[in-house]
């Protein structure tokens, strides 16, 4: 009996020690969304259950091994006991009650995390091997709606945002540890578009990273997220919605950045995935079928709208998305070509 009292005391002490450690040590990253607040609360409940059950079994096992260990030279067997049906029923029923309760509060937590705010702003997120692109719809003067495309996800603080997730190729996953949520991004068009709701509550810079393996550069598929206050967000959006009033080359650079071209095409001569744009314009390239072409406006235009038409030796068909014809305007394509031509 005295053994049971000691063990009970040790279990309580261990539970408190482990529980306090788990709930106070910064196990989780910065908390930057309303969803994170709720989720972290559920984590805390889990930590206490983990502390208790881990302590319960570990203390019994370790105590038994130390105290009931066979002394050197000792013979004979342990105490003969077969089991206790009442005890078995107790340790079946009590865990059932606990897990059912956990499931109830788990469902409740999920409902809070996924609560829909009718005021939420919508951003379309396009994932592709291996970049992210974000598209906003903005009402500009005259009531027309303009699309703003950005390689950075800019979000207003304390405002729910509805992300509509689209993939151009394989399955990706939108994951921001500071927001505590993730959602897989599926290819296949409208039917497979999935949604994720986030309410950032902390200004700062974060990163979205792909969490579902998507090939070679999966590890590097990331984009910046900026959470700013509402007025700053609105002025950024208006600024982006305006026409590009820079020179064609500078506008081209802007589109190349926003639409993710630079994830695969470097500007300094190194080969990332596709050919570098440095010194590309005007050069001669050998194609995979053995013929040779000179890089000019027509060739670049074709390579943007129909990337598989001509493949330079050493590169592969099918890697570059074939959807740019529908995404970029003719003017934007001309400006990107002008930008490439300027990189001599």
């Amino acid at each position: 009996m005295i053994h049971l009292v000691i063990v009970a005391f040790l279990v309580v002490a261990s539970t408190i020690g482990v529980g306090l450690f788990l709930t106070n040590y910064p196990l989780l990253p910065l908390q930057a969304s309303e969803q994170a607040v709720n989720i972290d609360g559920l984590f805390d409940i889990h930590w206490w259950f983990i502390a208790f059950f881990f302590s319960l079994i570990t203390v019994f096992v370790v105590y038994s091994v130390i105290v009931f260990r066979r002394k050197p030279g000792e013979r004979g067997d342990g105490v003969y006991m077969h089991g206790n049906t009442r005890l078995e029923i107790v340790w079946t029923i009590v865990p059932i009650a606990i897990v059912l309760w956990l499931a109830v509060i788990g469902a409740d937590s999920l409902a809070t995390v996924e609560r829909r705010d009718p005021e939420a702003i919508t951003v379309d997120v396009f994932a592709a091997q291996w970049n992210w692109r974000f598209q906003y719809s903005v009402e500009v003067e005259g009531g027309t709606v303009a699309a703003v495309v950005s390689d950075t996800l800019v979000l207003p603080k304390n405002q729910q945002v509805l992300l509509r997730l689209h993939s151009d190729d394989v399955i990706h996953s939108f994951y921001v540890p500071e927001f505590r949520v993730k959602q897989d991004v599926l290819p296949g068009g409208e039917e497979f578009t999935r949604e994720l709701r986030i309410t950032p509550n902390l200004e700062g810079t974060f990163k979205v990273r792909c969490a579902e393996i998507c090939g070679q550069l999966h590890w590097d598929m990331q984009a910046e997220i900026q959470v700013v206050d509402r007025s700053e967000f609105l002025s950024w959006l208006q600024e982006q919605a305006g026409d590009c009033e820079l020179s064609p080359e500078e506008c081209g650079q802007r589109w190349a950045t926003q639409f993710g071209c630079l994830a695969c095409h470097s500007l300094d001569g190194t080969v990332v995935i596709g050919p570098s744009w440095q010194g590309l314009y005007g050069s001669s390239e050998e194609l995979s079928d053995g013929s040779t072409i000179t890089v000019d406006d027509a060739y670049l235009h074709e390579s943007i709208v129909d990337p598989n038409a001509k493949i330079v030796q050493g590169f592969s068909a099918g890697v570059m998305p074939q959807t740019f014809a529908g995404i970029l305007t003719e003017e934007q394509i001309q400006q990107i070509i002008a930008f490439i031509a300027s990189l001599q």
Partner: protein
Amino acid sequence: MRFFSTGLFRGLVAQVAGSVVGMAFVMAARVLMGEPAWSREPVIVGGMIIGALAFLVGVGSFNDWFKWARGKQVSDEITVDPNKPSWMRYFSVDYDHKVIGIQYGVVSMLLLLFGGTFAMFFRTELATAGIDFLNNEIFKVLLGYEPGPVGLLSGGAMMPNPEHFFNSLMSLHGIVMIAGILLGVGAMSNYLVPMLIGANDMAFPRLNSFAFWVNVPGALILLSSLLFGGFDTGWVGYPPLALRAPLGMQMFLFGVYLIGISSIAGAINVIVTILTMRAKGMTMMKMPIFAWAALATAVLQFSATQLIGLTFQLVMLERLLGMPFFDATAGGDPILYQHLFWFYSHPAVYVFILPGLGIISELLPVFARKPLYGYKWVAFSSFGIALISFFVWAHHMFVSGMSPYLRIPFMYSTLLVAVPTGVKFFSWAGTLWQGKIKLATPMLFVLGSIIIFLLGGVTGPPAATISTDLHIHDTYFVVGHFHDTMFGGFIFPIIAAIYYWFPKMTGRMYSERLGKWHFWLMFPAFMLLSNGMLLLGLQGMRRRVVAYDADLGFGPLHVALTIAGFVIFFSMILFAINIIRSARKGPEAKDNVWDSRSPEWQIASPAPLHNYAQPFEVVGEPYDYGLQNSPYVNMTPAGGSATASH
């Protein structure tokens, strides 16, 4: 050069020849259809399939069945040719369940060695934030050629680049370990079940031998994936990525397919053997507890494995013939694959751990010198776990984009798994309580299993409640949780089982000193490894990445994990040295090394060719340690004088 007269050698020659014939066959068919003869993927896949069949013919798995088909008689008697060295039995078709069990065990350990070696490569890479180890120079040293700017889709046989090489090693680590674990499960079931229940062999010895040998071409094909460009999808192989991966993907799919056939055939055997071949007086409730675990495992393998075979077959067909089952742009559905995949792969996880949990329950009473606490509850909890495991698969898909409401019932069912698992833990603690505990090496590994599996258990619920899973899904938290369940539920128990039954297999003792070194290196190193993984995951470290941002601060922990990984690897080398050396030179073992009540310890060590010279009778309970004059088995029921333990 007796090796050249073994079945294994004949099988390998036949596999090479069969592959050539298969390739020629596909090329001929293509020419007849008016296509160019050479097309890399279909031709090589055709060779691969015919080659695997040819291996089985060459090794001799079908010999008796061919004879039956021709109306000839075959002998059911297992005979051993005294003119051949005994090791040759292990390299050819043999129907003795003990030989087959050891064949399974050796191939299992080889696969675990491959899987572990892959892990050492990418664990080294992960010690630094950037791509510093598997860079272009090392890549050249390891593979002998320079990576070029080839895209993933070139279909080239070569690894296009170091990142892809990392992804392939990581994917292969997962699936090769799983193959090794499945064979380890086969090893335990085949070696132990007949001996524990008093049978002299399995119900269907030929099927048993076939079930082992089909793994050999399966494992070879799986490993050959590295020579065909690897695959970068992780072991889950989700399309559409799996449709774009290099040819090595097909080796993954077909290799697993063959190993799945082994699971199904082996499971039928275990079920029938346990249900029909028990000794006189051995009711189900008097079976050694491992037999219950083996039975629950076999029911799972027998009823779930078809799903993975079918699913991988669909992906192979989609790649080969363009049938768009999973390509969303052509009317397929990528989510469907995930449902089909996990409908097997979740129960499969219980296939991996149930035998190990059975080993824990089997060994604890022997070393605590006490009855197994709540035998009936432990036995039924295995079936409880097996049953629930069929209703939880979609908890792998909480962020996959399946119907959001469907997640709720899966959260409930998943959390319920904790109940029968908890019953096992409480029973183990009850068994230890007030025992007379002997800390021999097998017992150390059993105790290690309990603590590690406990960690795996308590880290499950945060992944089961959906909203917390939104954070930890696809992070190192899940990786840590899974390694806890695999090490606690399989690796540590099978090591305990190998040490424990080593005298029965070889007639010799292992080195207790090396065994203790093994444990005291491996256990702390693994605790560091898995807890480090759990912590990294909580902090947002994604799984399946070759590099990570240095400013996230993960660096020091990753260095520690890499060191821990190498310590585990080194301790396993000690294990191998111990086993190999002791099998040849170890001191001779007593018949009943552990003072066990179990029937296999009442016969000679090593176990004779036909286990039991005459049938024994069960006259008591299996684990009545501490109760005087209560034998479990009467080895000579006709003679009258009981020679059972105690």
